[in-house]
């Protein structure tokens, strides 16, 4: 009888040690991504040249947690802690954290240039870049208000052209004070190499670093150093636990300048947009069904691609397949489209099974220009 208990507890112990380090959310997410990944891999093996989504993406979306160590250090709570707790803004939209092509492509930094401007200076890195991976670049606030950390995954530094690791020789009237560049190369458990570059950018005054996708391409990567448009509000926290958050001041109506007015009017907007030969589509699973995004992607890519392309007059490229981590389940599939892509979105809606809702991308989300259309697969997709 005693042996039964020993075996039973041993089993439970093994299971618990496997489960306890990760949440069910992340587990189900991982499982979902693994399942999606397996299916994608199968599809891609059959049709490697046609399907545009990279293979080993899911691995990057996972957060690996360190193995637990047995030593437990005890720390007395510091009751008079005065350092403010800072709520970190979301580093990137959760639904974007999915497919990264880590296999053969990446970035190489050769040199950098600071383009001064009174309104918005630009920090440009020259070298070789994969624009498809720009949306995986992480921009986070640093230790101080004037510091910003940029993580460039899959990036090397050209040590010949770019030997400096700390640059402080900026002009006195410029915005930058210090640029620290760190290259991290680590070997993964699978024997591969994981490489990234971490930029630590310190400015003289507070600024907001934004990836400028329109000024970035395969030969340059540009960040705009924008003056913060947001105001800081501090409320309700005690001295021990002061919480700061950056909140957009939305009370003031947006300025409607001539350019915006022109882009808003459908007829004058016609005179400003260029024609695209490719529609970049992201598919995100916002349904409780596993693999919904993947199934929709396969359906679009295999069964309907030619017909859609013929009707739209554009190539269809699925640039991202992922699931939404925001615990959102949409009753109906939703198609968000950027300006000038209403027609393309309507054609997609006609092709997709079930009922769809189409909406222009909200103003609060328009910064992600790499994707023309985003499909959130809803509960009604079967």
């Amino acid at each position: 009888m005693f042996k039964f208990f020993i075996i039973f507890f041993a089993l439970l112990f093994i299971i618990f040690t496997g489960c306890s380090t990760k949440s069910s959310d992340s587990l189900s997410e991982e499982k979902q991504q693994e399942l999606e990944q397996e299916k994608i891999t199968e599809d891609l093996e059959k049709k490697a040249d046609e399907f545009p989504v990279s293979l080993d993406a899911a691995a990057t979306a996972e957060e690996t947690e360190p193995a637990p160590t047995s030593d437990e250090n005890e720390l007395k709570a510091q009751k008079e802690q005065k350092t403010p707790e800072v709520f970190k803004p979301e580093q990137q939209e959760s639904d974007d954290a999915s497919m990264i092509d880590k296999t053969n492509s990446g970035h190489m930094l050769d040199r950098f240039e600071l383009i001064p401007d009174k309104q918005t200076p630009f920090l440009t890195f020259q070298g070789f870049f994969d624009p498809g991976q720009f949306h995986h670049i992480q921009i986070t606030p640093g230790n101080s208000k004037t510091e910003t950390i940029v993580i460039l995954p899959n990036t090397f530094i050209n040590n010949v052209l770019f030997p400096e690791r700390v640059v402080t020789s900026f002009s006195d009237d410029g915005i930058l004070e210090k640029l620290k560049i760190e290259e991290k190369i680590t070997s993964t458990e699978s024997g591969g190499i994981d490489f990234q570059v971490i930029l630590s950018i310190s400015s003289i005054e507070e600024h907001m670093l934004v990836l400028d996708s329109e000024k970035s391409d395969s030969r340059r990567l540009t960040f705009a150093l924008q003056k913060p448009k947001k105001k800081k509000i501090q409320t309700i926290a005690t001295k021990e636990q002061r919480v700061e958050n950056v909140v957009e001041a939305k009370v003031v109506p947006p300025k409607n300048n001539l350019r915006e007015a022109m882009l808003l009017h459908p007829v004058t907007a016609l005179m400003s947009f260029r024609h695209f030969d490719q529609l970049n589509v992201a598919i995100l699973n916002a349904s409780p069904h596993l693999g919904g995004a993947q199934r929709l992607a396969v359906m679009l890519d295999r069964q309907q691609k030619r017909m859609i392309e013929k009707r739209m007059g554009m190539k269809l490229k699925i640039v991202n397949i992922s699931s939404v981590r925001e615990q959102t389940i949409l009753p109906k599939t939703k198609i968000y489209f950027h300006a000038n892509f209403l027609k393309a979105a309507l054609i997609l809606a006609e092709v997709l099974p079930g009922e769809q809702v189409l909406e222009p991308v909200p103003d609060s989300r328009v910064s992600n220009l790499a994707t023309d259309v985003k499909i959130y697969v809803g509960n009604n997709f079967e």
């Binding site: 039973f8 636990q241 027609k343």
Partner: protein, 505 residues
């Protein structure tokens, strides 16, 4: 060993274990169990002297399980010592089992993150009781996502037994605690986390903002009117028609508060019995009500079954809905607010399908990222933009000009502005667009000039044979004809131009 494993009793244990895990697995692990050292230290400080299930917390320590995984160890007044994982702390706060000292509440605003905040309820009450306006910001996946309305506050209450959402929770398991009754008749139910968020983003205003109107009552729909089809753009052959939605008072907001969406419904075809996709265009009017019957229209150009309805899912919203043929919807609708208490929803129609396709540049075949529009993403106006915007402005202004002669002269000025824009262009897309607009103008102008000269000569003839032609005007017309001759595309136009030149000379 195998005898033991294959013994039937072992299956009972395994089954019990699996069931235990399955039951444990769902909500418990939905939130991280461990946090960073810094956050754990701060959380320990916050929890100190609070109450756990009515027992005072004597002291809280921070412990770690790995390099980055920290949790708390609490010693209660009854002498017991307890291990507190972060996810458990979060659950206890939701169920009021863990109460902070000094009338504060612990909140975890980000789902899936151990970032936390402390809501000082006393301060919140002071703020909300003094608030005159509430900034309502619409959440994710709402058609109004990211937009905010400022609504007048009528009354704040703490939810009590008998209230609609008393003891109910939101989808994250947090209890609704308060209700804010607004002057437009809507109610906002919110949790401690929501209250924390309101304070964070200063959603409760003690004074009305100077530059934005506070909405204190809803806009009530009175009637729908048809706006007939009219020419919008003579250069591209775009036509416009519309629906005017008349309200009971002035709309104290801007057109971008009225977004549109297209909704697909599968409806059974009465003839074939098959389900067929039907598309409905919906314009959303927030802070609006339909309190009486408003008749719609069965047809208006390419719109079918135009009607206005109350939104059953959202408070104080009405929807203008019309069935559309997706093939006819080339351009999105455009909303205008008039000075006669109404909103006009403009729809556009065109027979030229190529209009929605701008010049197909060779450069657009490259894989690299190219600018989407002629404008640079930063807000600095370049020289190109100045000229291009000027040209577009002149083209639009010319189209509203009834006097053909003045219209042609404005087009000439627009041509000059386009030339300047092309000369100052920095990207292919910019020069291509400038040249495209120039070519559209040049294609249309000979026809316009011929008509203008014909009408002028006819007017002179009607004045009588003795009427002396104005030499200055004649010179201008001749110049226009020279321009028309250069860009005339048909033989017929060429002949007419020669004939008109001879008459004028």
């Amino acid at each position: 060993m195998w005898e033991i494993i294959l013994n039937k009793k072992i299956y009972h244990f395994v089954l019990a274990g699996v069931m235990f895990l399955a039951a444990f697995n769902l909500p418990v692990f939905a939130f991280p169990e461990y946090t960073s050292r810094q956050k754990a230290l701060k959380l320990a400080g916050v929890l100190d002297e609070g109450f756990f299930r009515s027992i005072k917390i004597a002291s809280v320590f921070v412990k770690n399980r790995g390099e980055d995984d920290y949790y708390l160890q609490a010693i209660l007044d009854d002498g017991s010592s307890r291990k507190w994982l972060i996810n458990r702390i979060r659950e206890w706060t939701h169920a009021d089992e863990l109460i902070l000292s000094k009338n504060r509440a612990l909140v975890f605003p980000s789902q899936g993150s151990t970032d936390f905040g402390v809501l000082d309820k006393n301060e919140f009450y002071r703020t909300v009781l003094n608030a005159t306006a509430f900034v309502k910001t619409f959440g994710k996946h709402d058609v109004l996502e990211g937009k905010s309305l400022i609504l007048g506050v009528r009354r704040f209450r703490i939810l009590q037994a008998g209230d609609k959402k008393f003891l109910t929770t939101n989808r994250f398991g947090e209890r609704y605690r308060y209700v804010l009754e607004l002057e437009n008749g809507s109610r906002e139910y919110f949790t401690y986390t929501d209250a924390f968020g309101f304070l964070q983003r200063t959603a409760l205003l003690q004074e009305d903002p100077e530059n934005v109107s506070v909405l204190r009552k809803t806009f009530k729909v009175r009637e729908l009117k048809k706006i007939p089809l009219q020419k919008e753009d003579e250069l591209r052959g775009i036509w416009r028609f519309g629906i005017e939605v008349v309200f009971d008072g002035p709309l104290l907001t801007s057109p971008d508060w009225f977004p549109y969406q297209v909704v697909e419904f599968k409806m059974r075809d009465p003839e074939t019995g098959r389900y067929k996709a039907q598309f409905f265009l919906q314009i959303i009017f927030p802070n609006s009500e339909k309190i009486r019957e408003v008749s719609g229209f069965k047809n208006h150009e390419y719109l079918r079954y135009v009607e206005i309805d109350a939104d059953v899912e959202h408070q104080k919203r009405v929807i203008l809905r019309a069935m559309i043929n997706p093939d006819a919807l080339d351009l999105p609708p455009f909303i205008e607010i008039t000075d006669r208490n109404s909103v006009i929803v403009n729809f556009y129609s065109t027979t030229d399908q190529s209009l929605t396709q701008s010049p197909d540049l060779l450069a657009s075949h490259s894989a690299g990222e190219l600018p989407r529009s002629v404008f640079t993403p930063d807000q600095v106006e370049t020289e190109f933009e100045t000229h291009y915007l000027e040209a577009v402005g002149m083209i639009r202004a010319a189209q509203e000009q009834l006097n053909t002669h003045l219209r042609i002269e404005t087009y000439f000025k627009a041509l000059e502005a386009l030339k300047q824009a092309a000369l100052s262009a920095e990207f292919d897309i910019q020069i291509a667009q400038a040249l495209k607009q120039r070519d559209i103008l040049l294609r249309t102008m000979p026809k316009l000039i011929i008509r203008n000269v014909q009408m002028t000569i006819l007017a002179m003839q009607l004045d009588g044979e003795d009427a002396k032609p104005d030499p200055e005007m004649t010179e201008i017309l001749l110049k226009q004809l020279i321009h028309a001759e250069r860009y005339a595309t048909t033989q017929d136009q060429q002949q007419k131009i020669v004939s008109l030149q001879s008459i004028l000379r």
